[in-house]
C-alpha cells in the first residue's frame, strides 16, 4: 500500500489497478527489491487486506442497488469495489443488476401513469377525514340534530333529510347516503371509513355542521 492510499478513498476500480501497478514497480525497482517484506510489513498487509476484503458476496449483493447508483460512501464503497476487483461472480451480478433494472424501467414507461385527478381526489378525502375527525371529537356526536351536509363535485347540497338540487342530483344515491350517515350516527358516530364508502359508492364528499 502507498501513502496515497491512506489519505484518499478509492473511488474507481481503475484506482486499484493503478495502485497495484505502482506497488509492483516500486517493489521490483527500489533499493529493497531483493529483500522479502519484513514481519511488520507482512502483518500490516494482512490486516489491511482482511479489513478491506472481508465484505462477502452476500454483503455485496445486499448493497447492489446503491452500489450501482454510486451512492455508497467510504469506506463501504471502497470495500465493495475491493471485493468486486477480485470476484468475477459479483461483477457478473452487478452487470445483471443493471440489465434487469434498465429492462424494468424501460417497460414501465409503457404503463399508464397516475391520473391528473389523483391529487384532487386525495385532497377531498383529506378534507372529509379532517371534518369527520372533528365530529368524532364533539361531545354531542350522537345528536341526530347535527346537520349532515353532503357536497357532490357538481355542487349538490344535502341538508338533513332535505335535498336541494342544484344540478343533476340522483335522489336514490342521496337517500342511500343519508341512510348510511344516519345509521352510522345511531351506532355512535361517523367512522372515518364512511368517507371512503361515500366517495366510492356514491361519489359524494361528506362533511358535518353542528346546529
Amino acid at each position: 500500500m502507498t501513502t496515497r492510499d491512506r489519505r484518499e478513498p478509492i473511488t474507481h476500480l481503475t484506482d486499484l489497478e493503478k495502485m497495484r501497478t505502482h506497488d509492483s514497480r516500486r517493489a521490483s525497482s527500489g533499493p529493497n527489491a531483493h529483500r522479502t517484506p519484513g514481519k511488520k510489513a507482512r502483518v500490516m498487509k494482512r490486516v489491511v487486506e482482511s479489513v478491506w476484503a472481508q465484505m462477502s458476496c452476500a454483503e455485496v449483493l445486499g448493497i447492489m442497488p446503491p452500489l450501482a447508483r454510486c451512492e455508497l460512501r467510504s469506506p463501504e464503497q471502497d470495500r465493495a469495489l475491493f471485493h468486486l476487483a477480485s470476484c468475477p461472480a459479483c461483477r457478473r451480478e452487478l452487470a445483471e443488476y443493471v440489465n434487469i433494472s434498465n429492462a424494468i424501467k424501460s417497460h414501465r414507461a409503457a404503463l399508464p401513469g397516475l391520473p391528473p385527478s389523483a391529487w384532487s381526489n386525495l385532497r377531498e378525502t383529506m378534507e372529509t377525514s379532517r371534518h369527520l375527525e372533528e365530529v368524532s371529537h364533539t361531545p354531542d356526536r350522537h345528536d341526530l340534530g347535527q346537520v349532515i351536509v353532503a357536497r357532490a363535485p357538481s355542487g349538490h347540497t344535502v341538508t338533513g333529510d332535505q335535498v336541494s338540487e342544484h344540478e343533476h342530483t340522483d335522489p336514490v344515491l342521496v337517500n342511500r347516503f343519508l341512510d348510511a350517515v344516519t345509521a352510522a350516527l345511531l351506532l355512535g358516530g361517523v367512522p372515518p371509513v364512511l368517507a371512503g364508502v361515500c366517495r366510492g359508492t356514491l361519489g359524494l364528499a361528506i362533511s358535518t355542521e353542528t346546529v
Binding site: 434487469i100 417497460h107 414507461a109 401513469g113 397516475l114
Partner: protein, 190 residues
Amino acid sequence: MSGPRREDKGLALVRAIPNSECAMREFFEEFGPQIFHYALTILGDTHAAQEVVQETMIGVWRGASRFTASSSVSTWVYSICHNKIVDYIRRESRHVRRASGADLSASAVTFENEPCGTWSYIDPGGDSMEFWETFRRLPNGQREVILLFYDAGFSVAEVAEILEIPAGTVRSRLHAGKQRLRVLLKGGSL
C-alpha cells in the same frame, strides 16, 4: 434526483406535512407516481392501484407527525404501500369467496399465494405487453422483492424491513424470481 438528496427532501416534507397542505402535495408529487407504478405492477389494475395510492397517502398524512426517522422516508412510504396492497388483495379475495359461496374460514388468505389482479386495465402493447404478462406470472412475493430491489433500488436489508421478512428470505426470493424470469423470458432482454 439522487438518493440522499431525495431522502433529505422527503424528510423535510414529512416534517412539514402536519401543518402544510403544500408539503403534502409536494410529497404526493414526489412519491405518488412511483408507488402508483409499484401497486400497478403488483395488482395489474389501475383503479386498484389508485385506491392503494390514496390509502397510502392518507396513511402518510396521518402518520407524519409520528414519523421518527428510524427508517428512511422511502422505506416508510413503501412499507405503508405494501400493507395497503396486502389489505386490498385480502379484501378482494374475501369478496370473491363470499360471492362464490366458498367457506371463508376454510383456508387462510395469504398474500404470497393469492392470485393477483386481472391485469385487464393494462394494455402497454408491443414488447412491454409480453414483459408484463411474463412478470405477472411470478408469485406476489417474488414480484415484490424484484420490484423493490431492481426497480425502486432498495438494498436487501431495506426490502426486508419493508416486507417485514428476514433478509435471507429476500435473497432467496430474489434468486428464485430471477431464475423464473430468465426462463419465462427465454431469448428476451434479460
